[in-house]
Symmetry: C2
Subunit: 234 residues, 2 copies
Amino acid sequence: MATTEPRKSRPRGRPATGAADGRHPLSRDAIVAAAIDLADESGESGLTMRKLAESLGYEVMSLYNHVANKSQLLDLMVEAVAAETPEPAEDLAPLEALRTFAIDSRAALERHPWAANLLLRQMPGPVRIAHMELQLRLLAVSGLSPELAHHGYHAVNNHVVGYTLQHQALLASMTEFAEEIEEFTRRLSNDDHPHVIEHVEQHRQGETGSSFELVLDFILDGLRRLNEADSRPT
Amino acid sequence: MATTEPRKSRPRGRPATGAADGRHPLSRDAIVAAAIDLADESGESGLTMRKLAESLGYEVMSLYNHVANKSQLLDLMVEAVAAETPEPAEDLAPLEALRTFAIDSRAALERHPWAANLLLRQMPGPVRIAHMELQLRLLAVSGLSPELAHHGYHAVNNHVVGYTLQHQALLASMTEFAEEIEEFTRRLSNDDHPHVIEHVEQHRQGETGSSFELVLDFILDGLRRLNEADSRPT
DNA sequence: CCGCCGTTACGTACGCCGTACGTTCTGAGG
DNA sequence: CCTCAGAACGTACGGCGTACGTAACGGCGG
């Protein structure tokens, strides 16, 4: 039907004279920002090159003039989220600085529920490498042995990412399967799962939340304690 | 071309007289088992209804006579993996039993790299509910306060799943992007990232592995210590 | 001033994916 | 012998990422 007329109503090619119509001229940064917004709203599965182009007012393939492929776009999104984490204050003790950095990292991940899952699959970019260097340096100058510093890095990182992943999954389940959960717990109600029911009830009363910092301190205290025990016999 | 002949070489309908050809008669359990095998080989993205049917010697839509949809199939796969974890011995102290259960759970997840990622998205089935009840019971009878038991459950579970997720991601990166990593670290070699380079070098020498149980004990010891501190002033 | 060219936007098309739907065959029960 | 539920099948649809060719613009050498 439309093949008879050679072009559509909107002028083709670059928008006449520097984006004279309502839209910005489509840069890489604009694409990444729009992708983050779209993923925040619709989840990772809702982020589609087609929908992303539509949200920007462009056609799909125009995006590929600015990003190589979807994988690179996801890389850029993860880096942008990582860049939201502020550097810790410099006057803090090393492990205190690491503690606040972990808390701030988690806050950034919590703002973008898709980010934690993506972290696992993508190679780290410059921002994440810099964060890694920062955390490793803090561990090194805190007086921990090299082995403990190595394990401490993974322990803290695992905790930040793992906790956020599960928290987001829990939130998603609670909103998506609300009535299934309702019926599910009622079916078990007086059965042989008393502790599960109590646990769910604790969640309903908002018992959660402080658990992240609790375990973070278990890890940091454990590192300190183990380091003292190792160095005392010397 | 083939539309002229009314049927293909292989006989249609149910296989003549109880799977007289080489294949089993396609049950739900057989489909789940084949799906697990396929995902173990090709990863979650490699598990496709088409490939799964092909690996079983059937056509795609025949699978839907035994499973409702792909999401249900993934549910069944996760449950099957969870069922691989043995129950802990009954003569152990509660927190010791929880410790071995965590280690065994991690081993099962490690055998199936796709499982940890799936755990986060799927609603728990009967097997996982039973495991949840088991862990909560162990925490309850260990003498911890209800709040500490609640947090302890999440702490241990987060650690098991989170650690496995990151470990699998690390292994995948190391095999998939081997030369990229090689060049990447060489580019940084004498730059301003000394700790990252040292960390990668530690990994090359196999410094990893024991970190899981180390942090697990940090968590369990932290729970015990905090419980004593709470109950002593009484 | 003119004509070329690199850059960007666009449209079409291909090969995957999950799966809805209608058809064809089978063995079992009356 | 006939019927009938259920399994296996083939086709088709909409959505995905993206390869490829085309069209319109701005800038620049002549």
